[in-house]
């Protein structure tokens, strides 16, 4: 490399000359060879290069972070990869929504008991079923947008089946291990 900087991690691994316009160089520095090794193993250098080139420059860093995250997940869990984490989180959301519904039913019942009787004409008996109606929110709509493809998959939906299972995920429940180390757009509460 003739007195210039050392080749990036990808060019070192691929054993090629690291040009000054190497698409990998800004995102795979030579001091972290493992980062490129893992994305190369899962996605392949050629695919990563194509993906990065199709993105505007200011989005590439985030794309690399998410690719590294997915590659790490896949290495940790070769069967489900990231999808295992998604399934685990969906289960958690479902459980929390049930807790929320119970809490809302409880407070609704308390409020009903505190109202004077003459202010409750023809009101529906506050049952848990009624109260559960108040617990719905927009979460399901957001998720349904992503999950809608699953029902069109030719094989049984991994997402719908996985939600019904006890535990699929081999991921650390805290999720912190998978937090990309940069970019405020990742809202992991860093």
């Amino acid at each position: 490399m003739g007195g210039g900087s050392s080749p990036c991690a990808s060019c070192k691994l691929l054993r090629r000359r690291c040009t000054k316009d190497c698409v990998f160089a800004p995102y795979f520095p030579p001091d972290d060879p493992h980062k490129f090794a893992i994305v190369h193993k899962v996605f392949g250098a050629s695919n990563i290069s194509k993906m990065l080139q199709e993105l505007p420059v200011h989005k590439r860093a985030d794309a690399v972070s998410s690719l590294v995250y997915e590659a790490n997940s896949r290495m940790r869990d070769p069967v489900y990869g990231c999808v295992g984490a998604i399934s685990y989180l969906q289960n958690q959301v479902a459980q929390l929504q049930m807790q929320l519904a119970v809490a809302q039913a409880e407070i609704y019942c308390i409020q009903m008991q505190q109202e004077p009787p003459n202010l409750q004409p023809q009101m529906v008996e506050p049952t848990d079923e009624n109260c559960l109606l108040f617990a719905s929110n927009d979460l399901d709509y957001n998720l349904q947008q992503y999950l809608s493809f699953a029902s069109s998959s030719s094989s049984s939906s991994v997402m719908q089946d996985s939600v019904k299972r006890e535990s699929l995920c081999t991921v650390d429940p805290s999720g912190d291990q998978f937090v990309p180390k940069r970019s405020p757009t990742y809202m992991f509460g860093m």
Partner: protein
């Protein structure tokens, strides 16, 4: 004679051998499925990943690879990680809502308890009530407390 090649071999324009690793998981009636995983992971990587797994896990692995590839094509920057972001956010939101409601329930419960104590006050020692309210307890005659 109808072609019996799987979607992968059709896409790769090759003969589909009887022991093709892809044929069970990429049927010919869904060419998009293999096209997506090939675009993101590459046929060679997908083949290696499936080969490294026991046979009974390969179907789920193929499904999850398709899901990830689909997410990545839909969102080339964040892929599946975008969904994980959303889920983390939703978890946080719902936890906040639960905490808020539980605080309200606790507050209502405390309020109702102190109201109850006031209502049954004639039967209680007024000094006791004063202590509960944090007032000075210098009353000798309980009848003067309420007038």
């Amino acid at each position: 004679m109808a072609s019996t090649r799987c979607a992968a071999c059709k896409y790769l324009r090759r003969r589909c051998p009887s022991d093709c690793i892809f044929s069970l998981y990429f049927p010919s009636n869904n060419p998009q499925r293999f096209a997506y995983v090939h675009k993101i992971f590459g046929a060679s990587n997908v083949g290696k990943m499936l080969q490294d797994l026991p046979v009974h896990r390969r179907a789920d692995a193929a499904d999850s690879l398709y899901y990830e590839a689909h997410c990545r094509i839909k969102d080339p920057v964040y892929g599946c990680v975008g969904i994980i972001n959303i889920l983390h956010q939703e978890i946080h939101n719902v936890q906040c809502q639960i905490a808020k409601i539980q605080a309200e329930i606790a507050f209502i419960g405390t309020h109702a308890q102190s109201d109850q104590q006031l209502q049954i006050a004639p039967n209680l020692d007024p000094n006791f009530l004063a202590e509960q309210k944090g007032l000075s307890n210098s009353f000798d005659d309980s009848s003067t407390w309420f007038f």
